[in-house]
């Protein structure tokens, strides 16, 4: 096992960085060490963002029996054979979009607060990128090893709320301001269940450090059943709550009220165009990726392999694979569910997610207290823990849906 | 001058800025924010004394700041709720005009 941990592939990114650092003159080495990490994260997740957008559009298309973008290929002057040049499966779509966004006119409303109007997209991108600093991408790949990493993650993530407010207020547009207020109400409502859903993991792993949380999930029963937190009753409940809150935190469908174009034009983005709009768009995807990365780290075992036999596969590949699966899940949900109304949205958070998440913290405490139970007691432990999840879910679910007849749809089975 | 002196001077300056704001502005929200600044200045002192005090191994200074932050958050929430309640009665949040005791 330690041989696998030290294998060449596992160490390759670090070796590459060290090799690049020693090429530079000595006085620059201490800073370039960090700069290279930053550049690597930016490059990897910048490209990841680009291809997430095209993957999202293609996947959404397929979910709705459409083709999705498949046109943007290479420019005409390229010397590649025709059939490659022609379409390339639309993979160069994000680059075409980037060129379009960059060359568009940047319009600032005359009455806008110019400074804040400019600062908002910068702040939102900056802080959403900062959250990547504490995600362990691989066994040896974590940009900053922090003791209070989870707290850092949520602290950096909370700044995006400010940016949305700045964008909405500085536009001097009633739609923007209304949308910003709605977005804030949504983000504040869902920050609570988001953090509460992670607290059980902190409780059981007894650490706030992301790399230590991943370490705590690194074992297998019989070599095939990974000890990821999602495979425990409280972990599963926490994961579901985390998924719902992460969807809401990243303003994605079905919680995309802040940008509900049919109600609010385009929300706080109404007065943004060109590159600034692209920055907001980018920040949204960075936020989504970071939250997915956190979900992978906290619940899905981070860079751990799913079974012992596959331990030799480099850890960062596992992380990226799980991250892609998470994002595909988000896209799938987006392609399926309808947008909620604002009162339904806040009700879902305060009456459903928060109580369940609070109970889940108690559930995790029970789990941590009964860590010594074994044999048949283990079964009791699982049964009790599952009951703490399922019974409140059924009770709250029944009370929430009381008074509604089952819906019927004319065009759906 | 030791770093501790510097930290204390900085916190003094922050405290006095907060005091000035609380005294000079007539908008209730700004008064509340000035008080928040003063609380922050006190927190800076706690951290400075913890960092440069005789016994940094004990985390008392940090824990005190954590409690202080929690209480400040509660204060802000209640204070702003009061402001909204006052506004609902008077349609105004200027301090000079909040002269009527009966709502």
């Amino acid at each position: 096992m330690s041989a696998a941990a030290d294998s060449f592939l596992e160490r390759a990114p670090l070796e590459l960085r060290d090799w690049a650092v020693q090429l530079l003159p000595a006085p620059l080495q201490w800073i370039s060490h960090h700069l290279i990490t930053i550049v690597a994260v930016l490059a990897v997740f910048g490209l990841f963002f680009a291809f997430t957008t095209v993957a999202e559009r293609k996947l959404l298309g397929r979910l709705q029996n459409r083709l999705g973008p498949n046109r943007a290929g290479l420019p005409k002057f390229s010397i590649l054979p025709w059939h490659i040049r022609h379409k390339l499966f639309g993979l160069s779509q994000p680059f075409a979009d980037a060129v379009k966004a960059l060359t568009k006119e940047d319009i600032v409303p005359a009455a806008a607060d110019k400074v804040l109007h400019f600062l908002a997209p910068v702040v939102v991108v900056g802080f959403s990128l900062m959250t990547f600093a504490v995600l362990p991408f691989g066994r040896n790949l974590i940009p900053v090893e922090l003791d209070a990493a989870l707290l850092y993650f949520f602290a950096a993530g909370s700044a995006s709320e400010l940016a949305i407010f700045m964008a909405g207020w500085s536009s001097r547009n009633k739609y923007s301001l209304l949308a910003a207020m709605r977005a804030l109400a949504q983000l504040i409502s869902y920050e609570l269940p988001l953090i509460l859903s992670v607290v059980p993991v902190v409780l059981v792993a007894s650490t706030l450090s992301t790399s230590a949380i991943v370490q705590a999930q690194g074992a297998w029963t019989f070599g095939v059943l990974p000890h990821w937190f999602v495979f425990t009753p409280w972990g599963f409940a926490g994961f579901i709550i985390f998924l719902i809150s992460a969807l809401a935190e990243s303003n994605r469908s079905p919680f995309d009220l802040p940008e509900a174009e049919s109600e609010l034009v385009a929300g706080h983005l109404t007065e943004y165009s060109g590159f600034k709009y692209a920055l907001f768009f980018m920040a949204e995807y960075f936020g989504l990726t970071a939250l997915s990365g956190l979900g992978v780290t906290v619940f899905l075992g981070g860079w751990q392999a799913p079974c012992e036999l596959l331990y030799w596969v480099p850890s960062y590949l596992w992380f990226m694979g799980k991250l892609i699966l998470m994002i595909m899940l988000f896209i799938w949900v987006r392609g399926t569910l309808l947008r909620l109304r604002i009162d339904q949205l806040t009700r879902l958070s305060w009456q459903f997610l928060v109580p369940l998440a609070l109970l889940n913290v108690g559930n995790a405490a029970f789990w941590a207290l009964t860590a010594q139970w074994s044999g048949p007691l283990q079964l009791v432990r699982w049964a009790v823990s599952a009951a703490i999840v399922i019974v409140p879910f059924l009770v709250i679910g029944r009370s929430l849906s009381a008074g509604y007849a089952p819906r019927t749809y004319r065009y759906a089975p | 001058m030791t770093p501790l002196h510097l930290c204390l001077l900085i916190s003094t300056a922050l405290f006095c800025i907060g005091l000035f704001g609380a005294l000079a502005r007539s908008n209730t929200i700004l008064v509340l924010l000035g008080i928040e600044l003063m609380l922050n200045a006190a927190n800076i002192n706690f951290i400075a004394f913890w960092r440069y005090g005789p016994n940094p191994a004990a985390a008392n200074g940090m824990i005190f700041v954590l409690f202080s932050i929690a209480v400040a958050a509660a204060e802000a929430a209640v204070g702003l709720a009061l402001i909204i309640a006052v506004y609902r009665h008077q349609k105004n949040i200027r301090l000079q005009e909040a002269t009527v005791l009966k709502g």
Binding site: - | M1, T12, L66, L80
Partner: protein, 172 residues
């Protein structure tokens, strides 16, 4: 080290002073967020990671939101940020005098004070240590803070909520 501290201090104090002088309430609130972030940077500088992140989470994430909501909910019009009328000039001047004299008193006191020598090494306070101390030694205080926060939350909701009966039509 000192240069970094001075930079943080300039950011923190500058934005705080600007916040207290601006006419525009929203600008004031946002500048105060910058100031609070500066305080968090100071905590980071001093090695109190956990407190710094808690500061950002609570102040930049929560208090600022409450403040901005309050500003927007209580603002009648854009004229609300008109210049202060002449009557408050004396008030500003006296406030400045009070603040400045207090600054002078505390400043001189601090400048002449002598403190025991600090330990050279930055103290390493892990999150685990803080957690253990919070739960063991300060357990009662933690409980009381929890109760205070809960009471404050409920109180704030009760104070700010409208007394009018909800229209039953509103319920979905």
């Amino acid at each position: 080290m000192t240069a970094a501290l001075l930079l943080i201090a300039v950011l923190m104090l500058g934005s705080a002073a600007a916040a207290m002088l601006r006419r525009n309430l929203i600008h004031s609130a946002l500048l105060l967020v910058a100031s609070w972030t500066g305080v968090a940077a100071f905590y980071l500088w001093a090695g109190a990671e956990f407190v710094a992140f808690a500061q950002i989470l609570v102040y930049a994430g929560a208090v600022s939101m409450v403040v901005l909501f309050a500003v927007l909910l209580t603002r009648q019009s854009r004229e609300a940020d008109l210049p202060i009328e002449p009557a408050t000039v004396t008030r500003t001047a006296s406030a400045f005098a009070v603040a400045a004299s207090l600054a002078a008193v505390i400043g001189s006191a601090v400048a002449t004070a002598r403190f025991p020598a600090a330990s050279a090494e930055a103290p390493a306070a892990s999150v685990k240590q803080i957690g253990l101390e919070l739960m063991a030694e300060h357990g009662a205080a933690l409980l009381i803070v929890g109760i205070v926060l809960t009471v404050a939350l409920i109180g704030a909701t009760v104070i700010a909520s409208n007394d009018k009966k909800r229209d039953p039509e509103d319920a979905p």
